[in-house]
């Protein structure tokens, strides 16, 4: 239970095609992340799967059955919203129980399931509180509790962590990943944060302007991006792109080198430059190096570096990790 298939799904708002045409397979039990810049159509795609938006053409299959025309209530999917979307007038208990109540489940059974979910999510002590009396992380847990109680075919998450502060985000990220391991359920997760995508996903779908740029495991996308967009989007700091003569030397219109794949030395490298801003993260140092022909390159070095602003520096890219792209931006394998 829990496979989702999109067949030539197209969505237009008026004359604007937000999603021109998408084919996608989400396997049972998979954790799939839709990632892309804002406005790329990832939330719309999730809402099409949820049934909160109607597809203009194409089909949405859930567990092999055509669900294109089913209302959201009939799709057996649970959704966690960015704003949590808790019912403010109901207690935590009533919030979590709501889907079960709607399913017409007997009260004793509802109580048992709510207690279970609350236990899983450490919410037992808060069951009688109203959502406004909870912190952001607790609210998000209630939203997740409401999603897990009725054992849906799949979970949909729409940027669930973007309202939380940084440390809580890391913690909740882990909790959602653990929940996925524990339940083994299909999860589709939308985010604009590529770190969330990389750390949580079994499979990442990179979207840009309503099109799928690449589908693959996090490491596939990192190691073998299919085009310039994916190469630039996945990985932090961003991949360096070099055009012109230096790229032509490798038989490409553009070459890409990740900051962590450039060696620095005082002399003898392939490229030379001057150190500009240096960002110290403790474990790493990001050096922004101005070169004459290649523009500014970012290099990731260790926590202790002997270079400072204004120093001249030599750079050597790892030859096995140079990504080559043709004039259309597609990777040359």
């Amino acid at each position: 239970m829990g496979s989702i298939t999109l067949r030539q799904v197209n969505k237009k708002f008026g004359e604007v095609a937000v999603i021109p045409s998408i084919d996608l397979e989400v396997e049972e039990g998979e954790f799939v992340v839709f990632v892309g810049p804002s406005g790329c159509g990832k939330s719309t795609l999730l809402r099409l799967i949820a049934g909160l938006e109607d597809v203009t053409s194409g089909a949405v299959l859930i567990d092999g059955k055509d669900a294109t025309r089913l209302p959201p209530a009939k799709r057996k999917l649970s959704m966690v919203f960015q704003s949590y979307a808790l019912y403010p007038h109901m207690s935590v208990r009533a919030n979590i129980a709501f889907p079960l109540k709607m399913a017409g489940m007997p009260k004793a059974e509802i109580d048992a399931k709510v207690a279970d979910a609350a236990e899983t999510l450490n919410l037992t002590d808060y069951l009688d509180r109203k959502p406004r009396q909870l912190s952001g992380g607790q609210r998000q847990r209630v939203a997740i509790g409401r999603a897990i109680v009725r054992q849906p075919s799949a979970f949909l998450f729409d940027e669930p962590l973007s309202n939380l502060d940084a440390s809580l985000r890391v913690q909740m990220r882990l909790e959602i990943a653990e929940l996925h391991q524990q339940l083994g359920a299909t999860m589709i997760y939308v985010t604009h944060d590529q770190v969330e995508a990389m750390t949580m996903a079994d499979k990442i779908v990179v979207l840009n302007k309503g099109r799928v740029e690449q589908v693959g495991s996090p490491l596939e996308l990192y190691r073998a991006p299919a085009n310039l967009f994916v190469a630039g989007f996945i990985g932090s700091p961003r991949m360096n792109f070099i055009r012109g003569q230096a790229a032509a030397a490798y038989g490409a219109a553009t070459i890409g080198v990740r900051p962590e794949h450039i060696q620095i030395s005082t002399e003898g490298g392939i490229w030379q430059g001057t150190v500009g801003v240096t960002e110290h993260l403790g474990s790493d140092t990001f050096l922004h190096i101005h070169t004459e022909d290649l523009g500014t390159l970012t290099v990731r070095a260790g926590g202790y570096v002997d270079f400072g602003p204004g120093d001249t520096i030599s750079l050597t890219p790892d030859p096995g990790r140079i990504h080559r792209f043709d004039s259309d931006g597609r990777a040359i394998r």
């Binding site: 949820a50 049934g51 909160l52 209302p71 959201p72 209530a73 999917l77 649970s78 959704m79 919203f81 960015q82 704003s83 979307a85 808790l86 019912y87 403010p88 007038h89 709501f98 889907p99 709607m102 399913a103 409401r146 009725r150």
Partner: protein, 276 residues
């Protein structure tokens, strides 16, 4: 920089507010005072404010001459009835406009409001004829229908602005949780909009209670509410200010008391959305 509030300024504002408040309240106060005067004192020049012979004679006479309780019951039936029916129609309508808007929703809302811009007397003859032919003249049912219709645009507009404040994601969450359309409105939307619905209800009861044009024109004796009861004291054979005031006081007392107890709710309803 924050504006400096000096002591003089504060005093000036307080006095102006009080003066305006008293000016607005004065007609009601004057009516109530006059209702305790004799007919002679009521028209005396110069008028006496508090130092006159207080009498309950007017109330006694009004009670004898007309059946206050019947008019009161008519007012209650008509105002509560029209408000209840109005809400039943307006809640789904406002839901549709707030959460499932189409390209024409704004136009539709404006069009509904535009019906309030037409003078009521413009449609008096057709409505009168329809009422006559359908036997609705001088019936509570007829008045309830007409008051529902004339206040419906206001009810829908008020509820619409309230519903607009409710995040759509919460309703979508209910849909994902398996709620049907009815369940969504009953279990999620309505409870969240209770303050808004309550102030809409109160305001509409007050509007319907005080409505005089249709109630005077479409009733005679049977269905006449308190507005008609007041009007019956401005008789052609001369004005009896004291009795008219006693009748008015009796007519507005219930709604004044209701308004007093629900003023917090009313103010919230009327200023909702003004400050965000």
């Amino acid at each position: 920089m924050a504006r400096r509030v000096t002591r003089t300024r504060k005093w000036a504002v307080t006095i102006v507010a009080w003066v305006i408040g008293i000016l607005i309240f004065f007609p009601i106060l004057w009516t109530i005072l006059t209702s305790f005067k004799t007919e002679g004192e009521a028209v005396a020049m110069p008028p006496s404010l508090l130092f006159f012979d207080w009498t309950l004679e007017n109330y006694r006479e009004v009670q004898q001459r007309s059946n206050y309780f019947m008019h009161f019951l008519n007012s209650v039936t008509i105002s509560l009835g029209s408000t209840a029916i109005g809400l039943v129609i307006a809640i789904p309508a406002a839901w549709a406009m707030a959460f499932q808007p189409t390209k024409r929703t704004k136009d539709l809302l404006m069009w509904m409001l535009s019906t309030k811009m037409m003078p009521a007397v413009g449609v008096l003859v057709p409505i009168y004829l329809i009422f006559r032919d359908t036997g609705l003249l001088d019936s509570r049912l007829g008045l309830t229908i007409i008051l529902t219709l004339i206040d419906l645009p206001i009810i829908i507009w008020m509820l619409y602005t309230y519903f607009k404040e409710i995040p759509g994601e919460i309703l979508e969450a209910a849909r994902m949780d398996g709620a049907t359309l009815v369940a969504e409105i009953v279990h999620v939307l309505t409870p969240m909009a209770i303050p808004g619905i309550a102030s809409t209800l109160l305001l509409n009861v007050i509007l319907a209670w005080n409505e005089a044009f249709w109630t005077l024109n479409l009733t005679a004796a049977q269905a006449a509410p308190l507005t008609a009861f007041i009007a019956s004291y401005s008789s052609p054979e001369g004005l009896f200010y004291a009795k008219l005031s006693a009748a008015s006081t009796m007519a507005i007392a219930p709604i004044l008391i209701l308004g007093w107890f629900s003023q917090k709710q009313l103010v919230r309803g009327l200023t909702f959305g003004a400050v965000k």
